[in-house]
Symmetry: C2
Subunit: 291 residues, 2 copies
Amino acid sequence: MREKLLGSIEAGGTKFVVAVADFDFNVKEITQFSTTTPEETLENVINFFKQFELASIGIGSFGPVDVNIESKTYGHVLNTPKANWSGFDFLGTLKRTFDIPMYFTTDVNASAYGEYIKGSARNANSVVYFTLGTGVGGGALQDGQFISGIAHAEMGHATVIAHPEDTYDGGCPFHSNHCFEGLAAGPTLEGRTGIKGEKLPRDHKVFDYISYYAGQIAFNTFVNMAPEKIVFGGSVLQESDMPKVRAYFKQFNNGYVATPDLEELIVRPSIENNGSATIGNFGLAVRALKE
Amino acid sequence: MREKLLGSIEAGGTKFVVAVADFDFNVKEITQFSTTTPEETLENVINFFKQFELASIGIGSFGPVDVNIESKTYGHVLNTPKANWSGFDFLGTLKRTFDIPMYFTTDVNASAYGEYIKGSARNANSVVYFTLGTGVGGGALQDGQFISGIAHAEMGHATVIAHPEDTYDGGCPFHSNHCFEGLAAGPTLEGRTGIKGEKLPRDHKVFDYISYYAGQIAFNTFVNMAPEKIVFGGSVLQESDMPKVRAYFKQFNNGYVATPDLEELIVRPSIENNGSATIGNFGLAVRALKE
């Protein structure tokens, strides 16, 4: 008999990454494909997993998705601007082929969980993980539970005070220059400068602006939830920007609330090759077996 | 043998309210006195409780306090501008007289717990409770657990975008006009108008400003934690202001995130006579017996 494996689906708006691993999270096979229609994309997912004998699957999906296990539309994609995906029964489609336990959450919650069990927050009881990429999102865990009342978090859309010199009118179609994503997502770099983000020098003032928003959000996160770790993933900010983020946290706090050493509190992910979500999905697949 | 009673200490910066109740939370006796030195104040607390046979005590204290049960200074008051109280061993002082289980948390967490078990959020699995009074604070619960990583929340100090017409330079000594408390606490009413808050007509534009901040914070709370209920306690906002708060929530959301009916989501406390914290303390006293 073959050893049963854990499955991971990192479902992004532009690409899907699917992988299988053993129970020590050693990746046995990993592949990716473009996100097209839900039917075609899920067919690719199913054909990949059919090659293996799976114990369970962890799924981290782009959102919004229904993560409320008691809801009639649990596991569905909710209203999304992404063509054809609104209302798609993501989890149900998988369940029709694979009658095994599955854990369904957001992509950023999966990343948060990965960093919580194996990454920068592996020795912490609480973490909030943000990703700054094409979009901005966040996920929080305390004592192993996601902080998520009746829906998943949408932390990228919290309001931020604008940097005094930042006149950009914002990249969020809903919140223009009022929200974190509208001012700090990757496309805002080119939106402000006309130059692609990856071609901008790291000392360009736009990275100072982004650090200002990240530092502000980190401060708000600390006064709201006081996590032991605040992790900034994604490609917009890099390790070399973290000192600026910490400096702005300190400026916003202004000596009010006692914190751990900010070099310990505010960190980058430590799982390599952008693998936080995949590792998190494997961990959530293990949880699905137990719950 | 006398029936054992539950004790409640609502420890405010200006007054203490102490009470005892039976296990159905029927108050048997309640009294209050001014907050003076820690020694004198706790002597009053102890003399009150010595009249009864207590099973356990729930304590909701002004902050900052150390609520981390694994910390060496658990149960102490942390650095506070309030004279003589910094570093005071609040819980230890009580424990030296009463060798019974105690639950120690913030005043606003106690109020959140009261509304969670017996008030506006009694049928909800998650709640965030804000109080707008002399100061502004917030406490959150999900599945019965406080959201509190390595410290208690300080939600009153999260940043807010200023109302476009509100030129007040803020009442928070640490964050001037950058934080919720600095723009929405009771003293800001007189700070803006020169007229005591309770004498201002409810249609004065300052209440529109405060509602703007409350609506913004409620929106941020929803995208961060998605609680089933967001309760606004304290005397600064009243029931008649809630429609404005909901309208600003809607403005900040701008159709992005799906929410329950805002009349169900954003509410006032339902425990009468300002008793949320006392009821919460009794509930926490019961928890202390079980934990």
